[in-house]
């Protein structure tokens, strides 16, 4: 579990000090990981568009996948503005109506879809989600984006990559790679929704396929 964690693939590993059994990130870890991902986003935007006066950031749109991807996207945008001084567009895309597992798991209430006024056409969209697992949520989000416009490129940022992909999808920005078994559940808590920040691993999530 938390002690047997591999270093993140494309970043320095985060040293997490588990405060209780199953805690992967404390609130301080979450803040640090978000800051590191912010710097990566800024660097990548600048290197993709070296002539841009604002470091390519005006062409960037952060789109959160509800529920917890939405506040994560807003936090990343706020940190980008804090570090670079450039405001970045944020939005959310609800993927419920694009899911392929509605018949297996039943219908659920929808979450808001909100795009920035400037839209996503011709811009670089970074999809933001809390946990990358089967990849099916991301596939649904890609389908939804296709109906919403034509971005120049689509990237993926996730706080935790827990493996067990069922589709050929990988993340461009990863907070932390966490090898898990399918029986485990990875839960991200964010203060906007859950009251405090943390990432927890529990043993009770025997769901097998395509957890959100």
């Amino acid at each position: 579990m938390a002690s047997s964690v591999e270093p993140a693939r494309n970043a320095a590993p985060v040293t997490s000090a588990p405060s209780s059994a199953g805690t992967l990130f404390t609130a301080a870890d979450v803040a640090r990981v978000i800051d590191r991902m912010t710097h990566q986003l800024i660097e990548r935007a600048a290197s993709a568009d070296p002539d841009s006066p604002d470091g390519g950031l005006s062409g960037l749109v952060l789109i959160g996948i509800p529920t917890r991807g939405a506040p994560l996207a807003r936090r990343l945008a706020a940190r980008i503005e804090a570090f670079s001084g450039v405001p970045v567009d944020v939005g959310t895309v609800d993927i419920t109506l694009y899911r392929d597992d509605l018949r297996l798991r039943g219908v659920r209430a929808l979450e808001p879809t909100m795009l920035p006024d400037a839209g996503i056409d011709g811009r670089v969209v970074v999809l933001v989600d809390d946990v990358l697992f089967s990849g099916r949520s991301v596939r649904a989000a890609l389908d939804a984006l296709r109906d919403l416009g034509r971005p120049r490129a689509v990237r993926l940022a996730v706080l935790v990559d827990r493996g067990h992909r069922e589709l050929p999808i990988r993340a461009d920005y990863v907070g932390k790679n966490v090898p898990t078994s399918r029986a485990q559940q990875v839960k991200v808590h964010l203060s906007e929704i859950d009251g405090s920040d943390a990432v927890l691993v529990t043993e009770d999530g025997v769901r097998g396929e395509s957890q959100q």
Binding site: L97, A109, D147
Partner: protein, 307 residues
């Protein structure tokens, strides 16, 4: 949610709110989009089984199903085997044998959708049965009220006109009560059903007394096709006492809205200048009908195994 939507009472407060919230999210998600289509019900088949004439309800259901990528079959009694004497049951079983996942039914006989629901495995949605119920109309009316006034709890609604024959009135009384609105029905005594005393409503015969006290006035169509007895002396007298004209509309509270389920008899129950005023939500009701019916089809069909 239950498997069928046969009457407004099939929805408890949580279900009804879920339908309205889902419709609002669908509205927001599709607003300003180039591709107004969602893949949710791809490969499902929705049959519109219409034994009675309809423009807006049938088109609205057809559009709702198509925007969710379902295949739609429109069946109308005219020009089908019904004119050779095929029964409702046989027609329904035939349609189901061809693989329909949902049947949207309109029928002149009250209770026809309930019978249908016992014969088929798919979902049945009542799109109006006789003088009984028209639940999706009530949902779109509730959605429109919430959109305009921001709430339903405690909203005072006057439902005016031919309550006796109106399935729209029955469904609205039931749903609005579920959602916490206060309903007053206003009609001449001859156009009120016998059991109205047991409904969760106030009853009034005096439109002018009710108008200043409501946030919503819902005018019902005078259903000439069901008027096989004399319920009022003349159309003019009805219009004078129960029609909503401009001077009467002037007595409404600020912000109060005027609704009509359509089709309207302009100059009869509603004056043209009222129907076209800023208080009127008649066009919004039609637009909202598509979103609300998308929400209903999604919630009924989205989680089911295909038939």
């Amino acid at each position: 949610m239950k498997r069928h939507l046969l009457e407004a009472a099939d929805l408890d407060r949580a279900d009804a709110t879920l339908v309205l919230d889902t419709a609002a999210q669908i509205d927001a998600a599709l607003a300003g989009r180039e591709v107004k289509k969602l893949p949710t019900l791809r490969g499902r088949t929705v049959v519109n089984l219409f034994y009675e004439d309809s423009t807006r309800t049938r088109i609205s259901f057809e559009l709702a199903a198509k925007r969710l990528s379902a295949d739609v079959i429109n069946f109308s009694a005219k020009g089908s085997s019904v004119s050779k004497g095929e029964s409702l049951k046989d027609t329904a079983l035939t349609l189901e044998a061809m693989g329909s996942d949902a049947i949207v039914v309109r029928h002149s006989a009250s209770g026809a959708p309930h019978r249908l629901a016992n014969w088929v495995r798919g979902s049945v949605v009542n799109a109006g049965d006789g003088t009984h119920e028209h639940p999706t109309q009530a949902l779109l009316d509730a959605y429109t009220i919430r959109q305009r006034l921001g709430r339903l709890e405690g909203v005072r609604v006057g439902i005016v006109g031919d309550v006796l024959h109106s399935r729209v009135a029955r469904s609205n009384v039931s749903l609005l009560h579920t959602l916490g609105a206060e309903v007053t029905v206003v009609a001449p005594p001859t156009l009120l059903p016998v059991g109205v005393g047991s409904w969760p409503v106030e009853v009034s015969y005096d439109l002018d007394a009710v108008l200043p006290k409501v946030d919503v006035v819902m005018m019902l169509r005078v259903q000439a096709e069901r008027m096989n007895a004399s319920f009022f002396p003349s159309a003019r007298e009805y219009s004078r006492r129960y029609g909503l004209d401009a001077p009467r509309m002037g007595t409404l509270a600020d912000g109060a809205i005027v609704m009509h389920p359509g089709p309207m008899n302009r100059g009869m129950e509603i004056a043209a200048e009222v129907a076209d005023s800023v208080r009127s939500t008649i066009v919004e009701q039609v637009a909202n009908g598509v979103s609300v019916r998308m929400a209903v089809l999604y919630l009924l069909l989205g989680g089911n195994e295909p038939a």
